[in-house]
Symmetry: C2
Subunit: 396 residues, 2 copies
Amino acid sequence: MNIFEQRQRWLQGEMVKRGWSGFLVTQNVDMYYYCGSMQTGYLFIPAEGEVLYLVRRSLVRAEEEASADVEALGSWKTLGERLRARCADADAAGAALRIATELDVLPVQLYVRLQTALPGAVWEDGSLLVREQRMIKSPDEVTAIRAAARVVDAALEAVIPHIREGMAEFELMALIEHQLRLRGHQGLMRMRAYNSELITGMVAAGASAAVPTYFDGPAGGTGLHPSSPQSSGRAPIRRGEPILVDLGCSIDGYLIDQTRTLVIGDLDPELQRAYDVAEQVLRATEARLQPGTIAEHLYLLALDQVNEAGLSAHFMGYGADQVKFLGHGIGLEIDELPVLAKGFKYPLTPGMVIAIEPKFTFPGRGVVGIEDTYLITESGFEKLTLTREGIIQTSK
Amino acid sequence: MNIFEQRQRWLQGEMVKRGWSGFLVTQNVDMYYYCGSMQTGYLFIPAEGEVLYLVRRSLVRAEEEASADVEALGSWKTLGERLRARCADADAAGAALRIATELDVLPVQLYVRLQTALPGAVWEDGSLLVREQRMIKSPDEVTAIRAAARVVDAALEAVIPHIREGMAEFELMALIEHQLRLRGHQGLMRMRAYNSELITGMVAAGASAAVPTYFDGPAGGTGLHPSSPQSSGRAPIRRGEPILVDLGCSIDGYLIDQTRTLVIGDLDPELQRAYDVAEQVLRATEARLQPGTIAEHLYLLALDQVNEAGLSAHFMGYGADQVKFLGHGIGLEIDELPVLAKGFKYPLTPGMVIAIEPKFTFPGRGVVGIEDTYLITESGFEKLTLTREGIIQTSK
């Protein structure tokens, strides 16, 4: 049984417990997770029996890629019957099917069409279950994240010698992206949340890095225009200001997320001290990074440390624009579970992969901090990020 | 009255005709279109009166950018009252508000939350109205698309001398993206349709360009992995095979879309002939590209021409993987109205911007074709694409 079939079986077990008839997977990333293919169509995982992949395009490609019975989607009118035929509990005349799907991402128009195609079915929100399953990575997923960690490290090191005073932020970002793509970055940084977008990462320097954004993360950036109001803008990078390089890349679908703080010349001592506190927070977090620790406790612990250091107002953004987390799960999407934030009671579990990103924002001056991605193991953690820590100084 | 306010007023006029109380804009791109800002929140356009922008983050930035009354989103519990207070028809005790929103993109979970926040409201699907309004571009939108046309042209010309036999597709793509980003490309190619993604464009050569994808477009590509199954892969580019360079970029939020066919050395005469037919289809389309022509007629006309040329099986993909359109509107998103396809009865209207892309797919051999983006004018059309036409030959 390959990894995709194992995932299907796990989900089937959960559906049986819940009395669901089946799961209609509609989102491309979830579809890939459960069958190894993301062609256009619907993946139907019945509570028992074989999985059906109804494909509009490309059928040939789905047949090559997917761990499922692949059929042409064909007429929408027959969709209901074809799904019903896969449900073991559809035999009882008139019994309403209970069909789960991902209501966190499914658009209303498509939902209404699906409801019409399966009249009488009761719909369940299966999105949390999918996200919880995806929270625990299998060894092959970790292998891909390791590969992404190597790519982002090599790309950053390749770019560092080319950083020069007066270079615009977007020029630095263009160099980084080029190095990432040459090393196999797929060019997508997928996020699950509505309206969320990420343009490779947050690369910005000095005052403009501290400009807040809509983006649900601690660093900001002016961006190039109000129509893409995040990350690198046109500001020149100046000597002595912190250059925040928060980067990811995607290899075989899987993402890494890391941040380093760079500077041309020397960093202001106050910002250097804040950076040092960020590393201390990371070390203190690592000390509790083991199975059984509750996700939110790591955030609360960090708040205490930051408070003691007198940096609460600057932690994870400034003032009203602070975000209220310390880290997040990562995998096929950037915004995975668990979140290290209040209300997230998940005990850390082997196989979780979490990006932890203590950062401090100083309006008018910049953002400093660090972010590493970790695998939770039986005995504690393994840091997947490879890049050297500490402020990275260049002299050009 | 600035352009954003003009758009709000137009929408208000349409809402009055329909008896709607207001439009709750939830999608980032639509929000930018109506107020000039895409911070996180909700933009409420009542049928009459001032527009309210409830912002979670960043409030400061929304205040700087938005043509609307900006307020902190605050507690979700007060959302209903605050929207109701803006509705002129909310005075009549118990009268149900009719609130439109974009049901084509809004996820079900969020929709349910909004329904709960506004108990008793009747919800209308306003997505088609928004898409129809956005179909007609204002002069400033055309200015941005012109800028994008210059960037994509300059980037392509900068890359052509570096194309070499044996270079992998993804290496060519990395070069192109670098040149685009250095010239101001925002790094996003937004699409509206669920699950749609575009990694800058479709750049692929020979047999691998003809590999079909899930993507709703005529060209395919292997991509780097089944988790991003489109566009450039690892195949080396070989002498004599067509290199399809279907590219876009985003300037000030607005996209251009163009395709050129390149070759190292000489192209096979049969593929050259198919390319020539693609240019003939484009010329014949241009001859009808004027106000009043019905969108679908251009597609039907192209089908006739292609049939006469004996190339029907190869047009816009091959066999079961053919797509059934000739072109598409473009603006803030790639997949805008009108679509040049059966069932689209829109008469061409000044201000429409349409990418027209006749292409022919030859399995095992490659894809050839051309794509230009056009503005419909009072007297006919203006071609916005600047890049030279014809097969672009290189000799390296």
